[in-house]
């Protein structure tokens, strides 16, 4: 198979769009169902996230007056494209894309694109609520990216290479554990869950930065979020869970690990209130910073 085909397959089929979208919906459903059950509710039916997106696809697209049509419509597309491309880099079992030197850097960059798209979506919307949400999103990303990036970079430091395969092959040690904790610290804010659901605090700013989005563009943002959930959980699994020599077993282990991580952050989300932006920022710079420092120190003393 030539390189172009393998990239196309990776982006469109596995681990890209065709599998990631249903998987993301499954994971979102799992989270919603778990939240509901923890709160003593019934919860949504299995196909609810799918229904949500399908319903949005059938709705009218309203573009606010005075907003550039091109940017407004391009943002959700760019967001979906970036997360899908990022997922295609993750060396899940069976991923046809060869590992390239430095793909970790590309991955980290691509993972920032959806955040950037959300910030821009809020800013261009001309809605005060969207703009406040965008501001919050931007500031929060400064906070949670400290532990998030440090967790990955520490692993790269240990591996001595910015290549995903090398990260996977690092012999197991203390750094894995510390970096995993640091990564998990950043995860709730990355996924916009309580107590860090600050940029999408509906009781403060009505909605998230997509407040002016409707119809298919909003559906694309929702899809992007679903794929991002898959990306984050699978990235965690691939980097921090030890691999076995059997790819199929690996796949099952990774998926189970992803679900477990989601269960954990959901449990946290249901037992907490939403923090203020300054409190979240302080949390990430103090505790996230501390975790980062310890992780980095561990890579050095090893």
């Amino acid at each position: 198979m030539n390189a172009v085909w393998s990239y196309l397959v990776a982006i469109a089929v596995w681990p890209g769009l065709l599998f990631a979208a249903p998987l993301g919906w499954l994971e979102l459903w799992f989270m919603r169902k778990l939240v509901a059950r923890l709160q003593g509710r019934q919860g949504p039916p299995f196909f609810q996230p799918f229904f949500d997106v399908m319903k949005l696809l059938g709705k009218e697209t309203v573009i606010p007056r005075g907003v550039s049509r091109g940017i407004f419509l391009a943002l959700p597309l760019v967001s979906v494209a970036a997360v899908t491309a990022a997922l295609a880099i993750v060396p899940l079992p069976g991923n046809p894309v060869p590992s390239l030197p430095g793909d970790v850097v590309l991955l980290l960059y691509l993972m920032e694109v959806p955040v950037l798209c959300e910030v821009l979506a809020g800013y261009v919307s001309r809605s005060i609520y969207g703009q406040v949400a965008a501001m919050r999103e931007a500031i929060l990303s400064l906070a949670y990216n400290l532990p998030f990036l440090v967790a990955i970079i520490a692993m790269a430091q240990v591996a001595g290479s910015f290549q995903m395969r090398a990260l996977q092959e690092v012999p197991y040690g203390l750094v894995h554990l510390l970096a995993a904790v640091t990564f998990l610290l950043a995860l709730p804010a990355r996924m916009k869950l309580n107590p860090f659901s600050i940029a999408n605090a509906e009781h403060e700013i009505i909605a998230d930065s997509h407040i002016e989005y409707s119809g298919p563009p909003l559906a694309l943002f929702k899809l992007s979020h679903a794929i991002e959930v898959v990306l984050l959980t699978e990235l965690f699994a691939v980097v921090f869970i030890p691999a076995t020599p059997w790819p199929l077993v690996n796949l099952v282990v990774y998926l189970v690990a992803g679900i477990l991580v989601l269960g954990g952050v959901t449990l946290l989300a249901t037992t907490t209130a939403r923090l203020r932006l300054t409190q979240a920022f302080r949390f990430y710079w103090v505790w996230g910073g501390l975790a980062s420092a310890i992780t980095m120190a561990a890579t050095l003393v090893r």
């Binding site: 709160q39 509710r41 019934q42 037992t271």
Partner: protein, 180 residues
């Protein structure tokens, strides 16, 4: 930690969500839709008087019948009609759901016809007393002819009896025919 304990407990308990099928237990005091018993109604107008949103009104076919009307869309289910009805003709029934109106003005509309009877003495159309009440009132010895009297004639008959009791020599003045 109280929250963690609670939510983990919730996980083990059945869900609290109620589906339309599992209706909550309706207490016997529940104020559902109105029912009206035309056989007990005396068309006194108290229910319409106490009804703040004016969900109850009367129409009449002069000399033949009086109709009691109710529209659930205006009802506020305060229950004052039931509370104030002197003959207990109105009930808010627990087994009849209350919320069946729509903005379009449809929904439960009740009409209950109270047939009038001409008075056997003066001929005025009136609401006859419920049969059970009549049996209780004219149980023994009373003048059977009074059964068909209108309220005014009943009052006249009663006062005539009273007068007879005071002046037993029988000089009952004729007349007393009230104008109606």
């Amino acid at each position: 930690m109280a929250m963690l304990k609670t939510i983990l407990g919730n996980l083990l308990r059945p869900s609290r969500t109620r589906a339309p099928a599992d209706m909550p237990v309706v207490p016997p005091t529940y104020r559902g839709a109105l029912t009206h018993d035309a056989g007990r109604c005396t068309a006194c107008g108290t229910c319409a008087f106490v009804c703040a949103p004016k969900a109850i009104h009367f129409t009449q076919d002069p000399g033949i019948s009086v109709s009691w009307h109710f529209f659930i869309g205006q009802c506020s289910f305060c229950g004052l009609c039931e509370q104030n009805c002197p003959t207990r003709a109105i009930h808010l029934r627990a087994d009849v759901p209350g919320s069946t109106n729509s903005a379009g003005g449809d929904g439960l509309r009740l009409e209950s016809v109270i047939h009038l009877q001409p008075c056997t003495r003066c001929g005025a159309a009136h609401v006859p007393l419920p049969a059970a009440t009549m049996d209780a009132l004219w149980a023994a010895g009373a003048d059977e002819a009074e059964r068909g009297y209108c309220p005014d004639c009943r009052r006249w008959a009663a006062s005539a009896r009273l007068r007879t009791a005071f002046t037993p020599d029988g000089a009952v003045a004729e007349g007393g025919r009230h104008d109606r």
